[in-house]
Subunit: 707 residues, 2 copies
């Protein structure tokens, strides 16, 4: 007894000591599986205390065993007759149960309570793995484990991360350290972190990853690098994750020795075909190519007078025999500055509808500008019915304050997914365009620009992990609510205690709106620092192109502010279905959150809120700051209920966020005042510094800048 | 009882599960303090089971308590009458013991067994902290803890790390991820890793750190960055570590608005004085400046026709009122390519001896070229008796295969420290020049270019941690043997079991010689890939300057190979004391390991080994490869005795090392054969590829390249 007590004390201490350096450093993400207690423990023990698996050495059983062993605090036996039965639709033990296994496809699964047993049946080993992670989620949340009757099939086939990672490990728009891909040591050394990356993605249904930056380097397509890619693909394969690469359109010149890269030249097409054959010879399940062409200086088919369709189809023909796809980005704008950049993608791509091969998807950002804190849905959604369009969301917070601002992005994404395009008719939401339930293409996909880096906590902050999580969950099922996803994530990340989860939800849910409010309220956009996009810089003007400035977007004058995209202005409203075009064209019928996106409005004009525009702006800034202050108060109340390490970092980050929210407000107010000189509304404090001070601040080494 | 058993099982499992993801990932370095067992446990409990400290909330007592709690597996009480008594020479409880506390200075300490108690007495709180880490080392090594009688005073006052870290977190010559300094989030967010960095350094006596690259950016001297530096200084201060910065000589132009940076212009001097005042106003214990001037494109006093002394003295006057120092690097070479770059530093600096202010040190690399796998000691050592010279070692393995090659560097450093300069007379070792026991300057210092980055294990590999460790220990006491340091490190890092430590020592001790043998045997040097210095590239020629090529250094012809630095050649030998000059001037009396450093030797000339030079080269390449193969066999034998995570990574790295050792041999052999066409000695296999293959390999994204 004394020996045990001593040993126990030692272990407790060791755990505590380890804890100070290691535990809860965020590395485990939402896969923590810390020991349950009380009723949750006994329920889990009773219902899931042992495992039977048709494929005893598969990934699914290994993950279930690992997760349950953590939750139960002891090894979970794997044996015939186990309380959990795992299998695919082809396994006799599953077939014998007579479950309705039709329509599961590759990724779907059932979870059913059958007598005393819990059955997880997957459409394939991958579907089974997804089912296992679902079951673990239920157990970790301490949900009831009786009478389970779950049937899940993803709405979108390809759920993909885009890594904007350069080969020197610099991550463009990365705020979580450097790239986790240690190219130099690959293929020999495959860091265990690659496996943990695959586990995390599989647990939320992500099944594809584009390893390198859309601003591509052709070196990734050389044989030594393809061997490195193959080593990563081998790590990811058991987790159902395919690798994709970005293809630099000029690669035939740069690494192929050809004089040009004209997609209609048979020699160019032959080079790509040979390159695709080479890739598939070492990565048989290679996913395909993502291409950014003729955009922001990247080469493309237009360099040779060809269309985006010419370029995409040439690559599509190269990968088609192997089952590969091409994802062709619609984020394009010409070298000449247009009257309205918001119109460009629509103008260029709509005429190409129907001209793409059937293994091409066009990848469209959620909005027409560039991942602003809030944008109306992109007018291309619904406007190319003959082409599968895939959604591109940005998980990394390029325009949302980087890693230190807490902003839960599911509400932003849901707003776009749920938006009704009215094309061809009411009820045609963006989500239905993307999941192809509307147009019935053979491909559907969603992309999220990853927020993953070498930081120990993967995403730069604990709460940024929630955005990775939410992206995966929404790609799987866009009908999930932001609230439900946040609840799942918070319980997995901080434990299921409602005294912790509820306050955390109260922080997360208004957090995106807070960022919109203190940065770019009422439809303002693109007012961030030049290049790096850090901090307020509404005064940015000049430089190589007008649409890389702030003044291009806000168009402030002595009299008013906002971008007139109505029929009296650039006419961008007419890129939407008539329903929206008519509404966006008028101030009264434009949703207030997009007012200055579509209209130039007088500073003293009265809005629907009863305030003048000027007063409304100040009100919004204040609301944003106050929401952050409230988040801080809530978090302060969680001290001691959340482990010290994660509590302290989040507390500090929230203090940075509040300081920077105030900075956004003060700098913006000082700048707007320089146009109109209007007094501040009653109760509003003047900015503590003159405008010149805010303009003097510079951040030459802000992280994640494009290079 | 059942409850306890259950809890125990849970804890064991939790520890194991945590283990799979976290434990032994190398983060803890040599400060692991895992629970002792058996006699070591009872000895430590008996001798060190409780603590009394005069300053109860000091860093020393906190570290001792943390370390002992780990070793004993339970909290260690801090109370009057504790078995360990901590204090400084000023504390009454220490004074009362009548110990010989004279001469401890700031950093020295005593550890004494006094009756039943163990007393640690420091010359200051810093000395006490060093004493505590010494005591913990003894306990962790399971050394006897009775009759302790330790007196330690460091031989060198300033034991400094140089971080070649850029402000964008890129680390020049870094092979362990990116810079650990997260400048963007400083000063608000001070990562707990900064504290662990300070702990690790204090535990080996390092008391200074230069935070930024010698290829400097003036932005670090702007006020916002100085506030970030101050936040780091505040974290390091309780651990006795001062911060230093590199000073870009042209800063007065770049951030000061002055038209030039001429050190003799009073306006320039005044700018630096004001800048120093500003720094000390927020960092009162700021250490001073490190300067790389007029070298590899960096600005310096010669831009204005002034000398290095003019430049250094101007900065020295700025920091002198605050007790700051200037470290002025001797690694200089002019824009014009010289007859022999090895001669340049000596030629430029010896005439300046006696012309520097007394708070200036000249920082000299161990050898005259640039951190090659082996170099003869720098001829400046002993040649500037009126100037304190500090040693600059490179801990990061720029020219030694990066992180995947196991090379324990203490033997290389000892070889230089123990070298006898014969200036002014026999017995005047380099170490005595550096520690100032020879010349009696008021300053002594040593610098090591850090191998620290954001990788979880800090240094890129477990064994590279040994080089950080060994650097600190040698800076403290250069009389320590390489073997003793390796033994300390291995016991702390892998546990004290001789069945583990002894084989690990057998790997470490010959590892540096192995790298010399398979890369650059017999005095060859600088044959690595251009720019990044990865892999063999003895064929590098052309480009901006001759001394940035390989052919400049090996000078191979049809007849022979090697750089003639004798009196018939460049005469570099005469930069050494006559004793060495005469010896280096003749093949027979030149140490064989430096033969081709000083001599051009015929391929077929017979050496002292009885082999021709050509055969000797092949023999050496083979020896190097065979040593690595032996290290692999030894490591294979440790499987199961070393934790899986660290074992697997090292095993993979050793396999990479062996592959690359073979690559070095094959590429070199193919290249040398292209000169002379001689057959291979019997038993030697021809390179498996033609020379053109090796020459075709390119590594555009090798890590750590200069930018």
């Amino acid at each position: 007894m004394r020996v045990i007590a001593r040993l126990l004390a030692g272990l407790l201490l060791a755990a505590g000591l380890l804890g100070s350096a290691h535990a809860e450093d965020g590395y485990d993400l939402w896969l923590r599986f810390r020991p349950l207690t009380g009723a949750a423990l006994s329920q889990t023990e009773t219902r899931l205390g042992s495992i039977e698996a048709a494929e005893a050495d598969g990934t699914a059983v290994a993950e279930l065993s690992r997760g349950l062993s953590g939750l139960l605090g002891k090894p979970v036996p794997i044996a015939t007759g186990g309380k959990v039965l795992l299998g695919t639709a082809n396994d006799p033990a599953i077939k014998a149960l007579g479950l309705d296994l039709g329509g599961l496809g590759r990724d779907g699964y059932l979870i059913r309570t059958v007598g005393d047993r819990t059955v997880v049946a997957g459409g394939s080993q991958t579907g089974l793995l997804y089912g296992v992670f679902h079951l673990l989620r239920l157990a970790q949340e301490t949900a009831p484990l009786t009478a389970l009757n779950v049937r899940e099939v993803p709405k979108i086939d390809r759920r993909i991360l885009n890594h904007w990672d350069n080969l020197d490990r610099y991550v463009e728009r990365g705020y979580a350290g450097q790239s986790i891909w240690d190219w130099h040591k690959l293929p020999d050394w495959t860091d265990p972190r690659y496996t943990d990356y695959a586990r995390a993605n599989a647990s939320i249904g992500i099944n594809g990853t584009v390893l390198n930056n859309v601003n591509a380097n052709a070196t990734i397509l050389t044989h030594p690098y393809l061997e490195k890619v193959a080593a990563l693909a081998a790590v990811f394969r058991p987790y159902g994750i395919k690798v994709y690469l970005t293809a630099r359109f000029s690669a035939p010149k740069e690494i192929g020795g050809l004089p040009h890269a004209d997609p209609l030249d048979p020699a160019v097409a032959a080079w790509w075909k040979a390159k695709a054959d080479e890739i598939y010879s070492i990565i048989p399940d290679f996913g395909g190519f993502l291409v950014k062409a003729n955009s922001e200086g990247q080469p493309g088919p237009q360099d040779y007078g060809r269309t985006h369709a010419d370029g995409a189809n040439m690559l599509a023909d190269a990968v088609s025999p192997h089952g590969g796809i091409v994802m062709w980005r619609a984020f394009v704008y010409s070298h000449e500055t247009p009257d309205d950049r918001a119109k460009q993608a629509y103008t260029e791509f709509v005429p190409l509808d129907g001209k793409f091969r059937d293994n091409v998807l066009v990848q469209v950002k959620n909005g027409a500008i560039d991942f602003q804190p809030r944008e109306p849905f992109h007018p291309l959604f619904g406007a190319m019915p003959k082409t599968p369009l895939m959604m591109e969301f940005q998980i990394t917070k390029e325009y949302l304050g980087f890693a230190t601002h807490l902003a839960y992005l599911a509400p932003m994404w849901k707003e776009v997914l749920d938006a009704d395009t009215f094309r061809p008719k009411k009820g045609s939401t963006v989500a239905k365009v993307v999941d192809d339930s509307l147009d019935g293409h053979k491909l559907s996909a969603m992309a999220g620009v990853a927020n993953i880096g070498s930081d120990r906590n993967w995403s730069g902050s604990t709460f940024d992990q929630a955005n990775w999580y939410a992206y995966g969950r929404l790609a799987w099922n866009h009908d999930l609510t932001s609230d439900a996803i946040a609840r799942e994530w918070a319980a997995a990340t901080f434990g299921p205690d409602p005294a912790v989860v509820d306050p955390i939800l109260s922080m997360m849910m208004p957090s995106h709106q807070a960022v919109v409010d203190y940065m770019t309220p009422i439809g303002l956009h693109h007012l961030m620092g030049r290049g790096h996009h850090y901090g307020p810089a509404p005064w940015v003007a000049g430089g190589p192109r007008a649409d890389w400035t702030s003044v291009y977007y806000h168009r402030a004058t002595k009299d008013g502010i906002g971008f007139d995209r109505t029929r009296r202005g650039t006419g961008a409203v007419d890129q939407y279905a008539k329903y929206w075009a008519d509404r966006f064209d008028k101030v009264k019928t434009t949703p207030p959150e997009f007012l200055l996106w579509f209209h130039h409005v007088g500073w003293q004009e009265k809005l629907g809120t009863g305030r003048t525009l000027w007063a409304e702006l100040l009100h919004r800034y204040g609301q944003g700051i106050e929401t952050v202050a409230g988040m801080r108060r809530t978090w302060d109340g969680l001290k001691g209920k959340v482990d010290d390490a994660r509590w302290q970092q989040t507390a500090t980050f929230l203090s940075i966020q509040q300081k920077e929210a105030q900075w956004w407000r003060d700098a913006s107010v000082a700048y707007w005042q320089s146009f109109h000189g209007l007094p501040l509304p009653p109760g509003e404090n003047p900015p503590p510094q003159p405008l010149a001070y805010y303009q003097s601040l510079s951040f030459p080494f802000a992280p994640g800048d494009g290079k």
